[in-house]
Symmetry: C2
Subunit: 775 residues, 2 copies
């Protein structure tokens, strides 16, 4: 925890230049718009430590896998989001000497992320000689309104210097990923054109053959007047530049507006890329920087209006939650069903920008509650379109007859992960994808989705569970052997309670929806049965037997669900007995020691209680929480938020707040010293949920929004906006009241502390705050 950035309600502020923090700041100040994104690298040359990162969503490379020991069924490659051509480059020299913050004499420096308006601003003042000084200000945004556009306003002001400025405005496609397995570069040049004031590069990826067209245009101003320049042209493989020289006097300001458009073959035919790009740049320049910026800010206003959380009385918390909401929306906007939410978004290379079950467990609930329902729908369609590949994946592992195993890590539906204990055994991910269908429908009420897409996915996953289950003669029950639960600090265990619970739930939910469709649209069901070659009699009767005869590990003494068979044979001790210098244990302990310890990485039984909370009474949840949470080391960024929500649920207010703090400023304060690699985008959704579902106690119950709110002692008030089946509403919790505003036309059904309310369109409701919790 470093407390490095200045606190502010809407801004993230870095004061002074600290090269050793540069990689961290490059992550923190990242920009994105769902379509593309980039780390906060500098426009001008920088020879200090930096992770160059520019990304286009969906453009990846299948990097051949390096594993020491191969197992049948391991994937051939790990898909990686690519470092795409760098378009921010602006070289600057002063009297022939390159400006480079690594060697410059810096007088002042600041970097600001304006989350309200979605831009990055960097200002610095440097000595250019013993006594002369210039000021540079750079403002950059990636348009939320026109997603292919990136804009830079780069100003150089002379305080007291007179002399020559050399500018180089360039695009550079000679980039690489830091984490390549074999040190290869992934790009080939297709086409290049450059003239005075504009140019473009078209490059394609090896193997995947994605074409990316990156084009630029620039306008040069001096003291707010456009100045024509006659640049020299530089053109070499994967690189184009315009270089020109201007003179500057004390008090003068030169400003360069760089307009960039990035198109790719995901959205345009390859042969039209060059023409489309030129057209887009022409339109952008015609609109002008200011108008483009204004449209961009309006788009952000729109986002904030449905997803903002306002916290009064705790500026650090206020800043943090906005930081999280901001980055979530920069990462995924739900416009394209081929895209998904990488755990690091556009802020780094780690995890390859691939899709994990984080999406269904954390990302989806956030977007279901804050965005239009088509956003959640597209997240589901992403998986629907991968159903065929999931069946193929299951077949590789010996499953048959349309059983689907969704990959642990994927870009295009194919499995990319290759640790057997995860790839083959962390199969609960499959259940999370089934649960997402249920979650989407209960939030949106979009029942059509079930018969159109959802049920087909549920059948594939149910078939997997059915085949993955074996009968134990010994236990006289069905068992699921050899799995890894969400707690990855256990591997290859038998009867993980969470996994067995999810499996049985999937089977039940699938059966139930088959019966519903049979009544509502038997023709559609028949077509689906034909498509999936479904044997109603034999398959459903096996499923029913599994539902009634599944084994669930249980400890009668403590009256708790057992995380897995044999869990109680471990040496049980609380995590606070681990010496401080051995934490996090995953950086200090050998793997076998972690495995045989009782320590839990992230919610496992608790994750099941979270998903299926309705099925358990408060006492049951409390007993399990009190048993497991003390042994939990929360070494996954996804752990604390779920525990915080459950702590809130059982009235452990202080614990809930303590756990919330562990997740809220995880990245801003760099708790785990890993922000240099990128941000924890999916865990950010967990923080939002910790406030809304935790402190706010918001749930969906009986087709209504339920609230059981409380307020952390330190806070004066908090409010959040949310959506439910098309209705946008605002909840504000103060020290004394709960205030709900219906911001839509339609009525909202509410249950607050067990009492039903109907809130008509635009109506408000005030209920006295009640700090004790119902059982």
């Amino acid at each position: 925890m470093n407390n490095y950035y200045r606190k502010d309600k809407w801004l993230i502020i870095e004061d002074g230049f600290h090269p050793e923090m540069n990689r961290e700041s490059e992550s923190i100040f990242s920009l994105g718009n769902g379509y593309m994104g980039q780390r906060a690298n500098f426009e001008e040359q920088y020879s200090g430590d930096s992770l160059q990162g520019t990304y286009v969503a969906g453009v990846y490379y299948p990097d051949k896998t390096r594993v020491g020991w191969w197992k049948n069924g391991y994937p051939e490659y790990f898909a990686k989001v690519l470092n795409t051509p760098n378009w921010i480059g602006i070289d600057l020299s002063v009297n022939g000497k390159e400006v480079n913050l690594s060697s410059a004499k810096i007088i002042s420096f600041s970097r600001i992320l304006n989350m309200k308006e979605g831009y990055l601003e960097r200002s610095f003042k440097i000595h250019v000689s013993r006594s002369k000084t210039i000021e540079i200000n750079s403002r950059r945004f990636i348009s939320m309104a026109e997603t292919d556009l990136g804009l830079i306003k780069y100003s150089v002001k002379s305080v007291d210097f007179e002399g020559r400025l050399d500018f180089g405005v360039y695009l550079n496609a000679d980039v690489r990923n830091e984490d390549t397995n074999f040190g290869k570069k992934f790009w080939k040049e297709v086409r290049r054109e450059v003239k005075a004031g504009s140019g473009y590069l078209i490059t394609k990826t090896l193997k995947t053959d994605f074409h990316v067209a990156t084009g630029m245009n620039f306008i040069f101003e001096k003291d707010n007047e456009t100045i024509p320049v006659t640049p020299d042209i530089v053109s070499r493989e994967k690189y184009i530049s315009n270089t020109f020289t201007v003179s500057i006097k004390p008090g003068e300001e030169c400003t360069l507006y760089k307009y960039v458009s990035v198109l790719s073959s995901l959205n345009s035919p390859k042969e039209l890329l060059a023409d489309d790009l030129k057209q887009r740049l022409k339109e952008a320049v015609a609109k002008g920087y200011n108008k483009l910026f204004q449209d961009h800010v309006e788009a952000w206003e729109n986002i904030w209006s449905t997803s903002d959380v306002v916290i009064e009385g705790d500026i650090a918390a206020q800043q943090a939650i906005r930081f999280n909401i901001f980055h979530l929306n920069q990462t995924y906007t739900g416009k394209d069903e081929r895209l998904n939410i990488g755990p690091k978004g556009f802020t780094g290379e780690k995890y390859g920008g691939c899709t994990y079950w984080d999406t269904e467990a954390f990302g989806l609930p956030f977007f279901l509650k804050t965005a239009d329902q088509k956003v959640g729908r597209n997240l589901l369609l992403y998986r629907y379109k991968h159903l065929e590949k999931s069946v193929a994946n299951a077949e590789k592992l010996g499953f048959k007859n349309g059983a689907a195993l969704y990959p642990m890590v994927t870009m295009n539906g194919e499995e990319c992960h290759n640790e057997w204990e995860i790839t083959f055994e962390e199969i609960h991910r499959n259940g999370a994808i089934a649960f997402a269908v249920f979650n989407y429908i209960r939030h949106t009420g979009d029942k059509e989705y079930m018969s159109d897409y959802g049920l087909e996915v549920l059948i594939g996953i149910s078939r997997f569970w059915s085949q993955r289950t074996t009968y134990s003669q010994n236990l006289k029950k069905y068992v699921i052997l050899g799995v890894t639960g969400p707690n990855e600090y256990e591997n290859n265990v038998n009867n993980n309670w969470y996994t067995n619970t999810l499996a049985v739930w999937t089977l039940s939910y699938c059966l139930q929806n088959i019966e519903i469709l049979k009544v509502e649209n038997s023709g559609k069901l028949k077509a689906l049965f034909e498509k999936t070659n479904f044997n109603y009699e034999s398959e459903t009767s096996r499923w029913k037997m599994l539902i009634s005869e599944m084994y669930f590990p249980f400890d009668p003494k403590n009256n708790i669900f057992l995380q897995q068979d044999g869990f109680l044979d471990k040496e049980l001790m609380p995590a606070n007995e681990i010496p401080a210098d051995e934490k996090p244990i995953n950086q200090h302990w050998s793997w076998d020691r972690i495995l045989r310890s009782c320590f839990i990485k992230q919610a496992d039984v608790i994750q099941g209680l979270y998903f299926f909370e309705d099925k358990f009474d408060t006492e049951t949840i409390r007993r399990n929480f009190d048993f497991y949470e003390p042994m939990t080391v929360h070494e996954s960024s996804l752990s604390a938020c779920i525990h915080s929500i459950i702590a809130s649920r059982i009235g452990r207010i202080e614990k809930a707040y303590e756990l919330y703090l562990r997740t809220a400023r995880l990245d801003l304060d760099d708790y785990n010293s890993e922000v240099s690699d990128g941000l924890h985008i999916t865990s950010m959704a967990g923080t939002w949920l910790a406030i809304v579902e935790g402190f706010g106690g918001m749930r969906i119950q009986d087709n209504a929004i339920r609230l059981n709110p409380f307020i952390p002692i330190k806070w004066q008030s908090y409010s959040f906006n949310s959506r439910f089946r098309g209705v946008l509403f605002k909840v504000k919790v103060t020290k004394t009241d709960v205030i709900v505003n219906n911001l839509s036309e339609d009525a909202l059904q509410l249950i607050i502390w067990g009492k039903n309310y109907q809130l008509e369109g635009s109506e408000n409701l005030v209920v006295k705050l009640q700090m004790d919790f119902p059982a």
Copy 2:
């Protein structure tokens, strides 16, 4: 199973040239002498498929590891035995056309391994033009008497050809390993010298800086008369050659004698290598090919006199057992305590030539019974010298206070393996190393070894077991969690019965020997306690508690030891229900499917019954065998032999013979289609044990040799030589009798079917064969 080689009592014969079998034959016909070895590559050029392999024992390279996912404690490198400079090369051209069996018109071809005399002979006849023919005969051996020497007699005879022969006699150090992780070459040239008739190369390995000097001399004869030749000299980096031309007429024979010496910095100071080498070559040439060959044959006679097994009535079995004994003795001679037994010996690159627990479990018992006791002692000293590194290895995993964890795979004592489920969890290997101390002493009676070396190793290993054990409040017992047993088709299980048994045995044996030494030499014990910082009170009392309170999984219903906790929860079925096209399952099933199945790779509980047979009655052994063997797929080359011995033990004669057959000709008939990679050297020892301990029922009991022999129905008789505490004896079993000859001066104590005999020096004993088994 291919039945490719002709059967013969002493020879392995390949008739006709089959390029598609060349890699297999290169393995089968490998030569070695413990000091160095090589695959049966051709002397002349060969452009077909071949695995070039020349090895010098102990010369390795630490090849940087490639793993996909890193865990704390993983090793940085995998040590690899190196392909050393190739010294067999003899280029031959006929009238300017290169002889190359890949393109030659072959009239006949044979390759013969003479196991009695230890040489490889290759004869082939080829057309050199439409009608003209030559015959080539090459005989090669690596001297068992003077281990640095390799000799080749290469003869070219003209049947009806008249013309020119061009010879090129060369050494080539520009070699590489096929299995490098990063495609690197590992050798640098240090020095090179070549003149007419002789030359040498000195090369060194990168990183490890082993220097290897390879020198040659040659003599040329025509029709048995030495002919002086004036060769051209070729000298380039890592390569030297002598080339010369001779003429030949029909009926004439040209013979090249190539003398090679290979020295290394393991045995000579680097600066003396060149001089030593020249001296050795001078001595070799002075002695002459015939004398060197005669000495070599005598050395082999000596080996056979103490280790031969004679089988009458089954030529395939006779050939196979000699093949196994031959290769075991080619791989390890026990002269150098820095060397060990790689699972593939000098026959391939696989397993990197490293040391596995195979040595203690299979190699050691063979050498204890067939070789001088210093051979077994050196195998033990190898591990003793690695004790410090084993302590360091354990420390990396969090163990303290001198706890030792021997590596799973090693060259110099450092761990080379990196799969967590093996590296960190297959800890039973540690017990095998403790058991080896016991096994050595019971065979040799060398009690001094215990106080000098053995006890220190036992203390280190005991400390590991003590720290690796945790207390289960639930079971009210001590448990060993998170292990992989010998059956590697289970990973990360709790309370593997074999491991727990070994652990408790180690603690008891160590305690017992501490008490013995206390009485016999308390000074020595005190010194050892000081050296190991041993706290007698606290450490021994903890050990005693563990011995009495260890948990052993047990199934009361079947009255068997449970392989591990939860084994009975699996779907139990016999291995013969696996469809034939899915076997071996490790090539057809995904890892999770293998893990959750009941199928057993190799002896696990049965391995424990084998090690500690004395502790269990026949009925117990039988029940466990009958439970586990049917579920065993024997997909390790080390499985069938142990099962065969135990089947013999419980009177399952047919089963014992069936299992023996699976192991006896494993390589000769290439059961698993992998002989191209090299031979299964350590499993060869298992075959010998299957005869001697299995059919012969030989054990050590009450300081005597116990025999409970039977004879397989197909055999007329079998006999084996063995040793016990300095006494060499021969056992012959016929259809009617057991005949024991004491081949030494000293008396031999015998127990045959429970009856005691004392056999004086040179005395013989005949006892009637009794085919039923005592309980």
